[in-house]
Symmetry: none
Subunit: 180 residues, 4 copies
DNA sequence: CATGAATGAGGATTCATTCAT
DNA sequence: GATGAATGAATCCTCATTCAT
């Protein structure tokens, strides 16, 4: 086996650091390259498209989400697990502006990302099922719809104040309870 | 006073039609000109900036919203009025992709737009007050926050299915009720 | 005979006033029209080209120059006449930034301008002849060269301080005396 | 350290050649690109602004001027040195139409240009001092004024015949002598 | 592999001029 | 004759992407 290219690793780190500093909406590989002190070509070699870079940026966040997914889905207390899930997802999406795009995107360029997303959704699905049975969530709300609602809440917080997050989450939770 | 030129009216209409066909997020005055079959300069004469055009596009929608605002705020039944308001706003925002930006923008280039926004918000504020008193809405929810939540729901519907609209609106309404 | 169009006269005046307020280097008929509160078409009707407008602007200055030319060329004191000529020309060129272009231009769109230029040059030529005979000016300096030198001095004053004018004119006068 | 790319050097040369062929007054980076057979972006990479290109164009001329400045300021014969200076400056400014702008510009984008200008002015100042003491030049003429006068003479030659140069320089020299 | 120079399409904007009203 | 809307060529500049070194 070839030696692990230490410089390649360093380049990757630099690129990710530089990208994180930019707004994910207007991410430019050229600007990233300049900020990272690297050539454009190098950036393109590591990430052939902007989306690939966004994915990579989100990978770390996704890992944290995966951790949450695993631990919350283990909890016996369904309501706590469900809330923990929503809260974690909202928190991470707010922190990582590119995460929403990666979560919603149907085709992932990176296999690891694909795998993480699948496991997260599966775990979430499980918790949602339990929440439905315990009448914490109305029965007709699909996992996809819930995901979209979280994105909506994220959007609402984003165009307003960070302090709105807690209240908006409460509203979401209260809103999706089954009607008596 | 001079009469308004017939060709100017026609150009304006063409521009607005062409603009409506484009995604309001990536609205380009040059593309609009090409689609409208007009010179770039003509478009710039009518609308010096992209935002001016977006505003003009929303003006008609705003008028419809104003109509709703007036009629709903007249209703004796507060709950019906409040729901009518939310439903109307959501519906119109979904129909007119640029409306959200105009509603959220603090500075309007057109005076008419400014006036309409003010009247709509004032009417909405009135209905919200009544809804608070009748315990249809929690007391700590501000008009701004409610506006942002509607934008969030709009976003959620937009990234999902149009059919989600009804359910998501129900969820919003249920979510903002005061907790018992 | 038709009545004299009072509004046409007023338009002309407004155009000239607006044009005077602009830098003659970047004179735009459109901007002039807007500043004058008139339609572009009106401006074009009065002055088909930018140069025509510049000429018109200079016409008044040319008249003043013509006045100087006539009075100075009458003077018995050649030196005083000559200096008066140079001083007047320099002063007027500095006041009217477009004058140099009109003076140097071989083809004049306006007949009156053409006539004035010819009379001015003729008068100047006469004074220069006398100045040569009285050994105030070297014999090999042509009228054209002298004109160019004045333009040069104008340029020198223009890129420096207005206060340089007096000294630079002295230098020119001293410089063109015949060498002993 | 990386070697300088061969193609980059070639591009730079082409750009400078193409620019030299244009009037420096109306220098357009796009036209330069087209004339040089290069992409616009390439030109912008090499010279981000028109002034940067003008500076680069003048750099070579400035070097020649610097050479003259050094050698002339060494001369024991003050008058010869002074004349050599003026003659050289005039000659070079006439050859290089953009030089005047660079000399007069208070802010230089290129450090080398800045340095050369400073050395040239310092050397010229020295010669001027000596010339003042030897009563070749009137005492109240500043280096800045002299510079402007040279620009004026350049202008005068430029709007006339190249053959005027010699005479106009004589006139300048004669004109700035102290009055007896 | 890394580099950054080169590319040129594309977007925004201005402005001289024409022409319908 | 006056008006100003319409025109579109021309200009400036950016940026994603390719490719020579």
């Amino acid at each position: 086996m070839r030696q692990i290219r230490a410089d390649a690793v360093r380049s990757r780190t630099r690129i990710l650091d530089a990208a994180r500093a930019q707004q994910s909406a207007t991410l430019s590989l050229n600007v990233v390259a300049k900020d990272a002190g690297l050539g454009v070509g190098t950036v393109y070699r590591h990430f052939p498209t902007v989306h690939a870079l966004v994915e990579a940026l989100s990978a770390e966040t996704l890992e944290r989400m995966l951790t949450i997914a695993r631990s919350e889905s283990q909890r016996a207390d369904t309501e706590a697990a469900f809330i923990g899930f929503l809260d974690g997802a909202l928190e991470l999406q707010l922190q990582d502006g590119g995460l929403q795009a990666v979560l919603l995107s149907p085709d992932d360029e990176d296999q690891g990302v694909r795998a993480m997303k699948q496991e997260i959704f599966a775990a979430f699905e499980g918790v949602l099922q339990r929440a439905r049975h315990e009448r914490i969530v109305r029965a007709d709300l699909s996992i996809t719809q819930l995901e979209h609602l979280i994105c909506g809440i994220e959007h609402a917080v984003r165009i307003g104040e960070p302090g709105d997050r807690q209240m908006f989450l409460e509203i979401l939770l209260a809103g999706i309870r089954p009607t008596v």
